[in-house]
Symmetry: C2
């Protein structure tokens, strides 16, 4: 049986998962693929550190230098799992120049430098696979690139950051404040010691950039996105949203309109009865709307060693079968084209919004607020002023607003915060009803 | 740009959809694939019949004979959409012998004669693609074969017949009886004039055979399955199930255990809060449990011209890229292996059950019923005897039973129906809680 030599760079949670399952289900893979996926070398940061590897992995060469893996003549596919930007970029380019297929799960790197990586991939005629970069075990990259190949994608709506979703789920179910839910997520191992990219929305934004770029044929830049994280959501917002029939999710939204492509990540109110509202805990889900297939939804584990390893091994199987077929691989991983317009500036993105203001509890306040919104062309579709005890002379005002551009909203919020009757800063979340 | 000639056999709803979207999104496909998918010939039953085809489809050769399409030297991929068994089988074998890649959506044919078709595919070294055979626009075949390639599949649970799901949804939401909901589905175009295979469970069973065979590497025979349809569900059953916290769905279930592989299709009570319970109307959904990826779920339109065309065109793209790459295609479509045991006999399948009996409204009846069940080793986990008006001396007895083999249940039901206090036939449905 033909054997394809695989080199792993990085043996953290995902790398160990890849190793474990390649060895553990090796006979199954051989039957299904008609070839053997053989890990022959692995690069780690600290060769002395003890690690959990399968018993039959003793033949794997362990090295402290990723260049050893790339240079190993037995290695035909290089798996980049070291993370970070600079070293990982150098590694991928070195592998491509050596004619070795690349498999990566590095979402931050693809989002920042995907265009360069795929330009090099094209020049060398060597593919780069990246299923593990987006939504872990959910095969959304394969679905977008292959299964839905005939579709113009009208929109994507996804819950693609498990840490945020866990925190929001706990804030919703147990009424926790953000800081307490984050601390719990860290204790449970669902949030890292430094959770910045998870809670500020940028981990989800990286995935949105990859999906949008693949779907529309050119690489979005981080500056093209409007991004906000769950660190601005409070238990009050979740409670008020519930009273109005909504749930709060960190939603990545991508849309193609005649004017261009837009992508954003925002804490968003979605209808309590919508299927995405029932995606809880660390699970991910992505809803795709295609002009041919209609609505489709994928749900599964978006992170963790084993689900992500499942995605990496799917890429390894595709990479290896392309190598043994002797032909030209189906694609380099990403095919640029210019059928869609450029990304819309974030300020042009339209959405409905939820606005929460702390205001003086005196007559005439709603009129002043409505006036400031109206002056910016923003209508109010509903208002809630909940009875609050021990709030003194202060009241909460919750407004569901009509559709408006982000630039309009920013101007309106600045004017509202300057009103004498408005205390502190305004809280702004998005609202999505999933209409056409 | 390289062009791949495609021949369509059958221009019904799906064939017209394939034609419409291949022409309509041709520029997009060219950009994404780097090649042109060109429909050059189409076989129809009646060449004189007027049909809706894209304006630029005038170059397509229309013929009344599928052999003309297979023999056309420009045709490199043959799409079988004529349905039925004998002609479709002859067509596929003729295409394979002519060295032409086959794409088919014919679930009944694959379920009945898949083993023969893939044996010929293997002999000829020519692949057969069949994404459209199972769950329409949901890319479950690609997911099982490629995305989840490293996974031992522990189970599949699917709602894979849109007609049944529409009927059950209407019986649940509007309290309709089966016959009225079926008549409505026919008026709305969601059920065919002859709905036999939809409502007796066999359309779903064909899909279960295809999925199980692909997942476990050998073709199940129809006789290996336990199959029941929604024609045995009444509005009463749905109402009683609701009272107990369940919803009734036509569920296709596939499991691999040490003892072997089992597959079945039954009207099944599932927890009202489970994500599959919220799959309504004509939508399909399949939940996959893999040993590496964990739980994943796919949701989308399981039938209809456009969603099914999306799946056919995905196969066409895979077929065409394999042809232009010049290499050996990844696989013939199905790779047989013997890693899993044979299918369990249907009588060996274990499940919990819902049992509804019409009984005499006299003391001691529950004792007699419990005795007959107990004598067959079947415990009762809960019982409901609803207050019914105008029921005379007759009462309804609803029992939720502990796990039992199908053979056990059949014996017990026969004994129950022979009891003097039991009127008419017993109603038996399955119960699934999706435990491990």
């Amino acid at each position: 049986m033909t054997s394809i030599g695989i080199g792993l760079c990085g043996l953290g949670t995902v790398g160990q998962g890849v190793c474990e399952h390649l060895f553990g289900n090796r006979a199954l893979l051989q039957q299904r693929l008609g070839l053997d996926l053989a890990v022959v070398a692995a690069a780690v940061r600290d060769v002395a550190k003890p690690r959990r590897l399968p018993a039959d992995a003793t033949t794997v060469r362990i090295t402290g230098e990723w260049r050893d893996v790339v240079d190993d003549p037995r290695v035909r596919v290089v798996v980049e799992l070291i993370g970070g930007l600079d070293d990982a970029f150098d590694l991928i380019l070195a592998a491509l120049k050596a004619g070795k297929t690349v498999v990566t799960g590095n979402k931050a790197l693809l989002a920042e430098r995907g265009a360069e990586i795929f330009a090099e991939s094209e020049r060398q005629g060597v593919p780069v696979f990246f299923e593990a970069s987006t939504a872990g075990g959910i095969p959304i990259i394969k679905a977008v690139r292959e299964a839905f190949v005939v579709n113009h994608f009208l929109s994507f709506h996804g819950i693609v950051n498990g840490t945020s979703n866990y925190i929001l789920s706990r804030m919703t179910d147990a009424g926790l404040e953000f800081a307490d839910a984050l601390a719990e997520a860290q204790r449970e191992g669902y949030a890292e010691a430094d959770p910045t990219l998870d809670v500020n929305g940028w981990d989800a934004a990286h995935k949105a950039i990859i999906l949008a770029s693949l779907a529309y044929g050119s690489w979005l830049r981080p500056a093209d996105l409007s991004v906000a994280g769950i660190d601005l959501v409070s238990a009050d917002d979740i409670r008020f949203a519930r009273q109005l029939g909504w749930r709060v999710k960190l939603l990545a939204s991508i849309r193609a309109r005649d004017a261009g492509v837009s992508a954003s990540v925002w804490p968003t109110l979605i209808p309590a009865g919508h299927v995405l509202a029932s995606v809880n805990g660390v699970f991910n889900a992505i809803m795709v709307r295609g002009d041919v297939v209609g609505d489709a939804l994928f749900y599964g584990r978006g992170a963790g060693g084993s689900p992500t390893a499942s995605a990496v091994i799917s890429d390894l199987a595709d990479a290896a079968t392309a190598l043994v077929s002797g032909g030209v691989p189906r694609c380099s991983g990403f095919r640029p084209h210019a059928l869609y317009g450029r990304a819309l500036p974030p300020g042009e993105l339209e959405s409905r919004h939820y606005l929460r203001l702390a205001v003086d509890d005196v007559p005439g306040v709603l009129g002043q607020v409505a006036g400031a919104l109206g002056a910016n062309g923003i209508g109010i579709s509903s208002a809630l002023q909940p009875e609050e005890h021990d709030s003194g002379d202060r009241a909460q005002l919750i407004l569901m607003l009509d559709r408006a551009k982000e630039s309009q909203m920013q101007r309106a919020v600045a004017e509202l915060e300057a009103l004498p009757c408005v205390r502190g800063t305004a809280k702004l979340l998005r609202v999505e009803s999933f209409g056409s």
